[in-house]
Amino acid sequence: MNQIELTLFLESAVRLGIPLALAAIGETITERSGVINIGLEGSIIAGALGGALGALAFEGAGLGVLSGAMAGLLVGLVFAVFAIGLGADQIITGTAVTIGGLGMTGAIYQARFGATGTELSLPTLAPVAIPVLSEIPLVGSALFAQAPTAYFAYLMAPIAWYVLFKTAWGLELRATGEAPAAAEAAGVRVRLVRFMATLFGGAMAGIAGAHLALAHAGTFAENMSAGKGFIAIAVVVLGRWNPLLVLFAALFFGAASALQFFLQALGFDLAYQIFLAFPYVLTLAALAGWVGKSRAPAALALPWEPHR
């Protein structure tokens, strides 16, 4: 592997890791509050379509990202109403939200652009090179010549970490996820905290989807989220529910996905479908190898009914 190839590899590793990072940082906050949102995939695909339609309507990728965030948040709201408001089972609610999100975006897309799916050409989110930093040999251009959404992910990881571990809000959020009864006794409104944490996670997933459509593909395609929501949930586990580690775990998975294109380019004679399966197999292997050392929030996936 020469230096140009290595640089290209690192660039695509970061590019593929960013949507995972965005969604997984949001899901980290959600899970820390005691809610596991399997409907993340639904928020991502909604964010992709929302981002695409927003970018077309407002003729700008920036407002497209905002529309994507709103779409993701809206899907998160549906999940929150059932799983938190009504206290329905989180796994099944999340599965329904994912199925519904994929179906709804497909139906809207077909209704608007025809069943054959004319290639959309969208205003794209162009990479912005950060002076000085992007000049660092090898990793500079990979990390610091990316779309603005990448810098948003770099920023959100430490911010989420700070809020989670260094502020009163974060303490309340973690208490809600670890010991909701104690949190309630201390005056925390458990369901409200969980609602907000879930909406935040939905919005972040929506931005991840918008990134896919606007920075990555430059178009929308049905099912383009391709299971990234589920991988993001695995990334949260690998990052041990710590936003900073989650960012690194996401970039690691970006690298794993980039490897498939890369090994192919290097002439490894392996079938294309095997490369496609590789990130999922690697996720499974990483879960098996790592997860024993970490612990999920104690009240994860358990519904909460306030005691009046």
């Binding site: 596991i36 399997i38 549906v78 059932f82 009504l86 206290g87 329905a88 089972d89 796994i91 099944i92 609610t93 599965t95 329904a96 939200v97 199925i99 519904g100 999100g101 994929l102 179906g103 709804m104 497909g106 139906a107 809207i108 077909q110 209704a111 069943a115 049905e222 299971g227 589920f230 991988i231 949930i233 695995a234 586990v237 079938a271 294309y272 479908q273 095997i274 496609l276 399966a277 999922y280 197999v281 996720t283 499974l284 879960l287 098996a288 997860v291 024993g292």
Partner: protein, 355 residues
């Protein structure tokens, strides 16, 4: 946890299901109106395409319901045991690959041996696909939700690789296997229709599961572990790990049959996109059926009709078939919502409108 979504009495489950379907059809009609479509025309073409004639009902709706029935039973069995098997889709693909491999390899065998071997292979392959998440849960304590979903993707790509690589048809042009020999094909259940014996086999499995849940020690243990593994272990002296192991693998095996029966009963070859998300639809099927085998039979046929009708709706009224996925999601949400309302009313103290 599964106790909360499996109503105690069949009558309650049926009422809940009917309520959910009514809510869903209402919400679906509103969504169609919002999308600028005519709900009445959509409904009419949906009915025509699903139950318009005896032949439509048998050869399209019932045929479509077969994989949903197998996979729905698989999901119901797992959920009853408190196992969140979201992996029926991958297990189905594994089963299809296993079945088609046997059918293409042992071509010389007589039908009496080959057919059972094909079905057995799809069971084994589906069970094998469930074994990875099972062991990860029991040995490493990793929740099966994520692992089964990840295995779905691996299964889909594995099947895709098979039809592009090792099992591709002789000429190597199309992404599919050769057609399987006559002896490996499931015969018709009703002569002159496309409905194959797989439907009957699924009904037999439903009956076996129903008897098992109600009459056997294992069925009791599954329900106990599903309600609370700790309580089952302490009060019932049941080994939850053993019960989870058995129900998880059996669930995978039944989901594998969904794939095996499809290739051996209908398509006679393996294609890349054999399943239209049936493994996920199965979750809606199982829930709407109240996680009861009898209920699953009814709801699988209902969803078979929905899918058959959606095809007609797309042809006649130009309504995207993706709407069916939205309807599935609405059904699940309606079941969950109504169930919570039922639970809240049951828990309400008497004299506060609880009568």
């Amino acid at each position: 946890m599964s106790a909360g979504i499996a109503p105690a009495r069949a009558r309650e489950a049926a009422l809940l299901g009917l309520g959910a379907v009514t809510l869903t059809l209402g919400a679906g009609a509103v969504l169609l109106l919002l999308g600028g479509y005519d709900p009445v025309a959509a409904g009419a073409s949906m009915l025509r395409g699903s139950i318009g004639s005896w032949n439509t009902f048998v050869s399209i709706t019932l045929v479509r319901s077969v994989p949903l029935l197998f996979a729905g039973l698989a999901v119901a069995l797992a959920f009853r045991a408190g196992v969140w098997n979201i992996g029926a889709e991958g297990q189905l693909y594994a089963g299809a690959v296993g079945g088609v491999w046997v059918a293409l390899t042992f071509t010389g065998l007589p039908s009496l041996l080959l057919l059972p071997a094909v079905l057995l292979a799809s069971c084994l392959a589906g069970g094998l696909w469930a074994l990875v998440p099972t062991l990860m849960r029991l040995r490493l304590g990793i929740g099966e939700v994520i692992t089964t979903i990840l295995m779905n993707f691996v299964g889909i790509y594995m099947a895709a690789w098979m039809v592009h690589g090792p099992l591709q048809e002789q000429r190597g042009v199309f992404p599919q296997t050769d057609r399987i020999v006559e002896a490996a094909r499931l015969p018709a259940l009703i002569p002159g229709t496309r409905l194959h014996i797989g439907f009957g086999l699924a009904l037999v499995i439903a009956a076996v599961l129903a008897v098992m849940f109600r009459r056997t020690r294992l069925g009791f243990q599954i329900r106990a572990v599903g309600a609370s593994p700790q309580a089952a272990a302490v009060a019932g002296r049941i080994d939850p790990a053993r019960v989870i192991f058995i129900s998880f693998l059996a669930s995978g095996a039944i989901a594998g049959l969904a794939g095996g029966a499809e290739v051996s009963g209908l398509t006679y070859a393996l294609y890349e996109d054999l399943s239209d998300g049936w493994g996920y639809t199965a979750i809606a099927v199982a829930l709407l059926g109240g996680l009861r085998p009898g209920g699953v039979v009814v709801t699988a046929i209902f969803f078979g009709a929905l899918q058959a009708g959606a095809g007609a709706m797309q042809r006649d009224a130009g309504i995207p078939a993706a709407w069916v996925d939205v309807v599935e999601a609405l059904v699940i949400l309606a079941v969950l919502g109504l169930d919570r309302v039922r639970a809240a009313r049951a828990a309400a103290p008497t004299g506060e409108g609880g009568a």
